[in-house]
Every structure is written in structure tokens, then in C-alpha cells.
């Protein structure tokens, strides 16, 4: 049986990692700080997948970003999706060369369909994650925002989901801006809407700060994966404990144990 994925998202901007609330950023620290104070190794060994998202507002220093990606991926023996700010083919290539397994694209789906087409052709649909950020408007409709939540596309969620599927996305990372960092839990109605609008795996994001909320996302049946970016709540053994909590709710997650590892002298 295929298992649900428990994912973690590292939010990167200007050389540091961040917490986010409704897409407003709060600096946490650089990678060394993350290793030391947040036991990143323990995070990396407790998740099924990692996302590294550049959420910086200004011009991205690609050299510095790639350096950080390399440092993080060194500790990862699970799939890593990286993105945010990919505007050129070469940037995608550099991300793969720095250890990314998948690309995360957001604005490109709305602003540069040619780039999406080119990347799908080069790396295959399974390597392309469409990141869709949405906010509910006054009437309660979920509308898609791009450019780090700053620009409203006026495109409705269901429409956007089927459009990115048509454009060649292999999965969707769906974030509620309204719930991001609030601890209110996922927007399950939006998740259901997205699930019913395409045949792609969906990763739920935005709002889950506790194991219960992560489990709720999985149990909804609409998410192939659930994600949190809450460094504070899941530091140290936090994610490992969260896995155990989730498993108690009769959800089957993959199991492994680094303590059992036995290498041989070659």
C-alpha cells in the first residue's frame, strides 16, 4: 500500500530560514544555526519528503541559495523538492545539480507557460511540483495568488488546479495563505475542491502546527501528503514524536530506523 507522506517545508530568504504567518516572515537563523539549535538531522530523519522554498521578497542571490540547498541536502536521504523564484532553465539545472529531486514552480505557471513546458519536457512531469497559494475572498471563494502572495490572479482554485495539471505538473503543493502559521488546521474544503478538480497527488500546506492537524489532513482522504513549516513546534524530536502520534490514529506511515544501520567493510 502506498503511504501518506509527512513533509516538512524549510522557508528560505536572504541566507536565513524563517517562520511564516499569513506569508509574513520571521527570521529564525542560518543553516548552521538550524543544525545546532533545531537538530535538522533529526528533522531530516523523521520525514518522508522535504521542501526548500525560497520565499524572499527581493532579488534572489542564487549562488547563496544553491550553497544552502547543498548544505541541507547533504543530510537528506529522502526526496527533496526545491523552488521559489525559478525564472530560467539554467536555474532549474543548477538546482538539480545541487541535489534537488523536484522543482517547485509557482508564478511561472501563470507568467511563463513556455518555461513550464520546457522544464516538463526536460525533466519529466514527476519532477514538477506546482505550488498554489490561495486566499479566500469576501464571498468565501478561494483565489490563487502568486509572487509570494502579493499578486491576486483572480483565478479560482479549481480552475488553477486543472490548469497546472494540464500544463504538466506532477503534483500540487496547496497552501492556504489565510491559515499559514495560524495553527487553525488545513482548509479541508479547499483541499477537497482541489482533489476533485484533478488526478494529481496533493500536498496540503498552511495551518497545521500539531500532529493532530497533520493527521486530520491525511484522514480527509484528499491529501497524498501533509506539510508543516513550523520550526518551533517540531524542533528536536518534535517530528519523530509527531509521526508516532499520527500512527496512533491508525494511519500507516513508512518506518525506518537509522539505529539499525549496519555497514560492512568494503
Amino acid at each position: 500500500m502506498i503511504k501518506a507522506r509527512m513533509c516538512f517545508s524549510l522557508l528560505y530568504a536572504d541566507g536565513n530560514f524563517h517562520l511564516s504567518r499569513n506569508f509574513k516572515l520571521q527570521e529564525v537563523g542560518n543553516f548552521d544555526w538550524l543544525m545546532e539549535n533545531y537538530e535538522f538531522e533529526s528533522i531530516a530523519r523523521s520525514i518522508d519528503e522535504l521542501l526548500i522554498l525560497n520565499v524572499g521578497r527581493g532579488e534572489l542571490d542564487w549562488c547563496e541559495f544553491l550553497k544552502n540547498v547543498k548544505k541541507v541536502v547533504k543530510h537528506c536521504f529522502m526526496p527533496v523538492a526545491v523552488g521559489g523564484g525559478i525564472r530560467k532553465r539554467d536555474q532549474a539545472r543548477l538546482l538539480f545539480e545541487s541535489g534537488a529531486d523536484k522543482l517547485v514552480l509557482n508564478s511561472a505557471f501563470f507568467k511563463d507557460p513556455q518555461l513550464v513546458k520546457c522544464l516538463v519536457g526536460l525533466y519529466g512531469t514527476q519532477s514538477i511540483v506546482a505550488s498554489l497559494d490561495f486566499r479566500r475572498n469576501g464571498a468565501g471563494d478561494a483565489e490563487i495568488f502568486i509572487d509570494g502572495g502579493r499578486e491576486c490572479t483572480k483565478v479560482q482554485l479549481a480552475e488553477a488546479v486543472s490548469a497546472v495539471a494540464c500544463a504538466g505538473a506532477g503534483e500540487i503543493y496547496l497552501t492556504s495563505i489565510d491559515r499559514d502559521g495560524t495553527g487553525m488546521g488545513y482548509d479541508l474544503a479547499a483541499l477537497e475542491r482541489a482533489f476533485k478538480s484533478c488526478a494529481l497527488p496533493i500536498i496540503a500546506s498552511g495551518g497545521a502546527d500539531t500532529p493532530d492537524q497533520l493527521a486530520e489532513g491525511i484522514l480527509s482522504g484528499y491529501a497524498s501528503g501533509v506539510s508543516t513549516a513550523h520550526l518551533f513546534n517540531f524542533m528536536g524530536n518534535g517530528l519523530k514524536d509527531a509521526r508516532n502520534e499520527i500512527v496512533k490514529k491508525t494511519i500507516i506511515l513508512p518506518r525506518w530506523d537509522f539505529k539499525d544501520l549496519k555497514f560492512f567493510k568494503i
Binding site: 503511504k3 536521504f77 526526496p79 545541487s98 525506518w256 530506523d257 549496519k262
Partner: protein, 211 residues
């Protein structure tokens, strides 16, 4: 032991190399036919299309080099994902393109009745036959491994099946013939379970037992 990770311009060499570094095993990443033909253990990784995979191997002179190392000199080989599929005779993904043909069979797309494609995520692997010792155990059971693919291997000979997995229906998730092994999943992306599988393969390659 001289381990070579074959670089044919496709796929996640980075993470395979990272896994070897973590295990403290020296491995050479190379696209040089001479280096490949002289190695004593081959890792054939790969993510991507069957047709570009074979074409890239051919234009780099690596088909002959692999034949020399694996078929003539008997170097053990571990094919990962596309690296497993290339061991087949042919693939529906690239009609008319000949594979390495080392393990008789055909690569076919999952049927349309399959749940969402690509098959992506950790899934259970059930070993078969007498080579079960390649797979580690977690809590007494064979653990899950990370998959990402839409095509799978259909071997002609049932005896070449090393493990099966269920996604919609049952498919072959690992194959073996003599010292040639192929896994559809990504051991380098399957946390400690995958690292242990690679370690077991290396140990078997140098003639050691698994216990």
C-alpha cells in the same frame, strides 16, 4: 573493491554519491567507458526517459563498457529506477528502442485503472525467491521504499522476480539474474532502509554474507 556510479547524463547522481559518502564507501562517478569496463561493481542510476537513457549510454560508448564489466567479467550491478528498466529488452515508453536486454522482459506503463500516476511515495516491498537477504528488516518486516515512476518491468521469467509491490495491482519492484540486480524504487531516497539495501548489495558484491 572498485565501485563505479555510471554517469550517462541522466538522473540523480548527486544523491547516489551522497549515500556512498555517508556509508564511507569510496565510489567513482564516471562516464568514461574505460573506467566502467574495468570496475568490479557497477551502480546504474537514472531518472528519465528510456529512449534518452539508451541513447546516452550508446553515444558515450557505455553499452560496450557495461557488457565488458558485467557480462564478461561478472561485476555485480545494481540498476536503480530507469537503471533497472534499461536491463529489459524494450519499453512501451520508447517503441523500437532496444534495451540492454540482460534480463528478458518488457517495460510497460501502468494500466489506466491504476490510481493516480506517477506512483509516488513510500510503498511496501515483498521479497520473493531465495535472495531475500538483500532487503533489510525493520521491526521484523521488510520496510517501505520510495518510488516515483509510471512504467514497470514485466520479466519473461517469473524466476527473475526479486520483489513485488502493489499499486492498484501487483507489479515487479525488484529483479535479479545472477549478479545483476534492479530495483524500481530509490534506495538513496528511502532513508536508512535504502542505505542498508545498498550496503547489503555491496557486501554481497564482495562475496560476503549478509549476517
Amino acid at each position: 573493491m572498485n565501485v563505479v556510479i555510471v554517469d550517462y547524463g541522466l538522473g540523480n547522481l548527486w544523491s547516489v554519491r551522497n549515500a556512498f559518502e555517508y556509508m564511507g564507501v569510496e565510489a567513482t562517478v564516471s562516464s568514461d567507458p574505460v573506467v566502467v569496463s574495468e570496475c568490479s561493481c557497477v551502480i546504474l542510476p537514472g531518472v528519465g526517459n528510456f529512449s534518452s537513457g539508451m541513447e546516452n549510454l550508446r553515444t558515450r560508448g557505455l553499452v560496450e563498457a557495461l557488457n565488458e564489466a558485467v557480462l564478461k567479467k561478472g561485476a555485480p550491478l545494481l540498476g536503480i529506477c530507469l537503471g533497472m528498466q534499461l536491463l529489459a529488452d524494450e519499453s512501451e515508453e520508447a517503441p523500437g528502442v532496444r534495451g540492454l536486454g540482460w534480463i528478458p522482459g518488457k517495460v510497460k506503463r501502468f494500466s489506466d485503472q491504476t490510481p493516480r500516476l506517477p506512483h509516488m511515495g513510500f510503498n511496501a516491498v515483498a521479497p520473493r525467491g531465495d535472495r531475500k537477504d538483500l532487503f533489510p528488516k525493520v521491526d521484523g518486516k521488510t520496510p517501505d521504499f520510495y518510488f516515483v515512476h509510471s512504467y514497470c518491468f514485466h520479466p519473461n521469467d517469473e524466476r527473475d522476480v526479486l520483489a513485488v509491490t502493489t499499486y492498484g495491482s501487483e507489479f515487479v519492484s525488484a529483479i535479479a539474474k545472477n549478479k545483476i540486480i534492479g530495483v524500481q524504487f530509490h534506495p538513496e531516497k528511502s532513508q536508512s532502509s535504502g542505505l542498508q539495501l545498498i550496503a547489503n548489495f555491496l557486501n554481497f558484491s564482495r562475496g560476503g554474507s549478509h549476517d
